[in-house]
Symmetry: C2
Subunit: 682 residues, 2 copies
């Protein structure tokens, strides 16, 4: 490696954008100068001019700020390695290979982002931290000494020596499946091979010659859907994404019915394990086909999932998760070979599954925590992931608490008379005229509102089939705002005189949304189901706020489909989540999957999330008497007389602020008290 | 743990045979005192009085040497734990459980060998080092905290905590196959389980309650025979041993024909890999049945074999071993899961294969080196393992050199006209009357000599089918001693006048040993084949002696079937091996298998042999011009005029000393020179 020079006569090299600088002897390759200065320029081939990863761009001109003049004479002319590379693969006009180009005088060198070894992957939202690309598997090109009768070392041992000499890595061992293919690769590559090394220690793949492709998978195993992102491990780009229904649905729609299936059918867990692994393998085929790559370059896969999905994926009977004390078989993160669990990626591919937090708070929630990183921030963040239960994590860099609230599946449209999964034909947006009580709505698969021209044609094509989870939240909030349901959740039967949308069902009433092939209505039981679910969610949040000792939260992030599809203001109107500035209530998208992708791309984050999860205080709502109190207090709908008045008048304003007061803990705190009082009296 | 006391009033405890002593407070359990003093008493249950491993025996009386009086009052009375154990499993009269019995006054405690944790396994021969029992897998009984809604840790994490608290081990991970069975084991054992831990770090097996059995396999994969020793890992005893024909024989009798088979039949390596693994699994079934144990308590297996066997066992195509430069795919020792190579022991069972030394000097030779441990001794030892080739290792603690000599398979009875494998009916012992030239002989399977009464009946039952490898050495030496062959290996045709045992075959002669269903004779070509083989062996030894810079060797150990069956004096008479005191030419038995057993029982020896092998200087005879010179010089049979005279007169004397002079380098050296001169002139 090049060494920094003290001699003022030696040329000065300045790297941008890092600003790192130093003097080196003339003739020093720029790649070596970069390494000596800690500028991490990528390279797979180790400076042999064949991988093209180490491209840089000299900047010419006078740099007054740096007091140097950088000229084209100050860098060596285009060399043979560069010519060869350019002819074979192309090289943009100003680009040079830093392993070839040498320092001849003062020079400013720009390192383009794609040439950085620990590239930053910038995420969209301002409060999300960027991902530093630092995967636990890397490719290394090596040139291996040929065997010789005078030196009877094995081929593998000479590979170890080459890695030590050319990459300064001390290899501990190699996967058994390498042994049968190593000699052929060495001879086919004429003693030049590429190896994939796991955790700087273990050889897990080998190819003849230079092999420059490395991919990984981030997989979120949901109870309903399995989502998979195929990621280029060298750029961090998602190159293909696909989802598939979780085939375990045929054994039970929701988690608990799958656990019951195992209890009733010995061996049922093995059936479900086989089903989910097969589905994942199908997904892998799909994304590889989409990205036009072969599976042998997919070397890493990171998984998240709730505890039942986690257990079934790992081949563990989830029965214990079905009853108190809800003991996980294993909560800690697990690393193993993909072949150990029949996941078809490369032969030596590795699998990592994030830790579970508790019996009801799974590796998916750990993924959300890793993605949203509340442990890095000062502000108090509430993370909510609503599925069959709601997983809730609250806190900041000082402390995190977590719990699962037994919301049941109502938010997903289950247990609702006209409820259905989010699919074309499901009502997802509703507005009710508070004078006429007439609804207008929109269905998934159409942009046309029901009172607009062309809707009849849409119905013909798609149908109106029910109400999805976010639709049911919206319609109940609208019913409340229109005065159809009272603050304590009763559908007001007296309105039947005013509108034939109010129907009598024995002793209770329901609200007719749509008549057609399917009759869509909201019954009193539906309202009760949503009240139970939302008060469970609210009570869980309140319990965690008490545990953390805070009166208000600075930010609420809603993860998953719930957060993506729901109009968050209705969640606030119904009192599902604690008060917060509406603009600080943010949909986090598939944060669990993003967490998996982060753990895939940066090995250090694996230890990080394991440490964070270890320190999270886990709260079991079932044994907390305060949870019951909060639950009962939260059953009603918050009073609409004051801060919701504005909502009644203008429900579609884009950024609605619930309280006109400035956001702040004290203010929010006093507001919380007012609402709690209201609930108490409801 | 108990702490040593400075107080002279506290009782003194003395452990025998170690003599370790110290004072402890009254009431200290003897097991704890032992640990505080570094007396390693075994325990699987961690002092709970259920495993019975920690038995000790108090010695009562006045011990003038130690100046203490040890009385039965000075140890606590038989306790409840001991009563329970005695009733359940029995306990010899004076025996106590050291985890229960407490110090009440001055006491002498005898630790019987079977209670020692690092038991010494004493080996038979005086120059063999003992094996210290220290396997890399151990059993630990633990009591695990029950899950609790207030502490939502997973079961596995509570197991880790229990191991840390009760055994002070920091577990890194657990095998994936443990996850599906852990919860059931914990509940079945009522939160008491036994775990098997590999290398103090990895959980590889789990059973409910106390499980006290741990076995391992030492397997020597020979080209002809696979030998397996099932070993109790807690006592070091071999509890069952069995051998099986290597089914690869159907693909080729010797190593090179198997390599050729692969060259001619693509995929042939996979057939042979499958065949050898299946045979090993059959063997495992056999030894487990013999020992009446189930495979789930067989957790470790150590393998040795020559390079071709090593490669085929690991699934590696051995083609490269068939031609220069004879490159091993991998020479270093390999550790992996038994399931990775389809070896059916316990699900979490581990496999270790010793390192190969060079392309022709395999893991079997490494086993011989580990067993005979020349690296521990001052004296210059020559290790010879004769198979298709002869593997030779020479040296002492300062330096070892190794080579393979291309003896060909003549020593195994192949390429010999009447040669056959050692099996019933093969001639193995021969004496020739030097007056009449009449032979008398003995066959394998019978104790009767051919000139004794009853031999005809034996022939009827067994038959005389040929000559085995050790028989051919013996008969040629006897032919030489009887003057039938000359010093340069020619069968003297002039003797045909004297005896009708000398037959003419065209231009050469042969010696008729037996006429019957099969005619057994020794042809001129047979003598030539043995001459070529023995001069190759001798030349290899000489080359190594030159490389090491010694003129003589102190000890010769002949490993394997060759060493076991051959009468070593005939090896010396023919000049197969360098001169050495006959009493120092020792059969080492299946030293390769013993090496495997050592590596099985003591994990430290694995690193030891890896380090030793790394440092062995490997000599490739094919590129050493001196080898050819030695080879040609060694073709003849050493002159019988002087030191062999005595052999002519009394070939059956039990401990024949070749030279009447004292053994010693100088003396032996001058003798060597004389013999070299003789050869030179032959």
């Amino acid at each position: 490696m090049a060494t920094l020079s003290d001699n003022k006569n030696d040329p000065l090299i300045i790297f941008t954008p890092s600003g790192k600088r130093g003097r080196f002897a003339k003739g020093t390759p720029i790649l070596e100068a970069a390494r000596a200065l800690g500028v991490n320029i990528d390279s797979v081939c180790g400076g042999r001019g064949i991988c093209g990863r180490c491209q840089i761009e000299p900047s010419f001109g006078e740099f007054a700020k740096h007091a140097i003049t950088s000229t084209s004479e100050n860098i060596s002319p285009f060399g043979a390695k560069e010519e060869r590379y350019k002819n074979k693969f192309g090289l943009a006009d100003l680009r040079r290979l830093s392993c070839s180009a040498q320092i001849e005088g003062d020079i400013v060198i720009d390192v383009p982002p794609e040439s950085e070894m620990h590239k930053q992957i910038v995420r969209k939202q301002a409060d999300e931290r960027d991902i530093i690309l630092n995967p636990c598997i890397r490719l290394y090109y090596i040139e291996v000494e040929e065997p010789d009768m005078h030196n009877p070392k094995g081929d593998l041992e000479r590979v170890y020596e080459a890695i030590a000499a050319q990459w300064n890595l001390d290899i501990a061992d190699c996967d058994l499946h390498i042994l049968p293919i190593l000699q052929k690769a060495l001879r086919k590559g004429q003693w030049k091979i590429t190896v994939a090394i796991y955790n700087d220690k273990h050889i897990i793949a080998v190819w003849p010659e230079l092999q420059d492709k490395l991919y990984g998978l981030a997989v979120d195993i949901g109870s309903t859907t399995i989502a998979c992102h195929l990621t280029n491990m060298q750029t961090g780009d998602v190159v293909a994404a696909s989802g598939i229904m979780n085939p375990q649905i045929r054994f039970g729609e929701d988690l608990m019915s799958r656990v019951s299936y195992v209890m009733m059918n010995p061996g049922g867990d093995q059936e479900m394990t086989k089903a989910v692994r097969e589905a994942i393998n199908t997904l892998i085929e799909q994304v590889c086909e989409e990205a036009e790559i072969t599976k042998d370059v997919v070397l890493d896969a990171v998984f998240v999932g709730n505890p039942v999905m986690h257990h079934l994926f790992l081949g563990i009977d989830p029965t214990e998760l079905g009853g108190a004390p809800f003991a996980l078989a294993a909560g800690s993160a697990q690393s193993f070979k993909a072949s150990d669990i029949d996941i078809s990626i490369a032969s030596g591919g590795r699998v990592y599954i994030l830790p579970c937090i508790a019996g009801h708070v799974g590796a998916d929630t750990a993924g959300v925590v890793l993605s949203e990183a509340p442990f890095n921030n000062e502000e108090i963040t509430l993370l909510v992931d609503v599925g069959t239960n709601a997983e809730i994590v609250l806190g900041n860099k000082d402390k995190l608490v977590a719990a699962s609230s037994p919301t049941g599946p109502a938010f997903e449209g289950a247990e609702i008379s006209s409820g259905q999964r989010a699919a074309p034909g499901a009502i997802e947006r509703v507005r009710i005229d508070k004078e006429t009580l007439e609804p207008r709505f929109r269905i998934i698969g159409s942009e046309t509102w029901s009172d607009e021209e062309g809707f009849a044609k849409e119905v013909e094509n798609i149908g109106v089939t029910g109400i999805c989870g976010s639709g049911i939240i919206e319609i109940i909030a609208q019913m409340y705002l229109a005065g159809i349901i009272t603050q304590d959740g009763v559908i007001d039967g007296t309105l039947a005189q005013k509108s034939n949308r109010i129907l009598q069902d024995g002793r209770t009433f329901s609200y007719l949304v749509h008549e057609g092939e399917v009759t869509v209505k909201v019954t009193q039981n539906d309202v009760r189901a949503i009240q139970l679910a939302k008060s469970a969610l609210y009570a869980g949040c309140k319990l965690l706020m008490e545990k953390l000792g805070v009166n208000a939260v600075d930010k609420i992030k809603l993860a998953g489909a719930f957060g993506t599809h729901i109009d968050t203001k209705y969640a606030l109107i119904l009192g599902m989540i604690p008060d917060c500035q509406l603009e600080n209530v943010i949909a986090a998208g598939n944060a669990a999957g993003t967490g998996a992708r982060i753990a895939l791309l940066n090995k250090d984050t694996r230890q990080e999330i394991e440490d964070v999860v270890e320190k999270i205080e886990k709260i079991e709502t079932a044994v907390e008497p305060r949870f019951q109190e909060h639950f009962i207090a939260a059953m009603g709908i918050p009073n609409s007389a004051d801060e919701f008045q504005i909502l009644r008048n203008n429900v579609d304003m884009p950024k609605f602020v619930i309280s006109s007061a400035q956001s702040g803990q004290k203010e929010a705190g006093s507001k919380r008290k007012r609402r709690a009082n209201r609930r108490g009296s409801a």
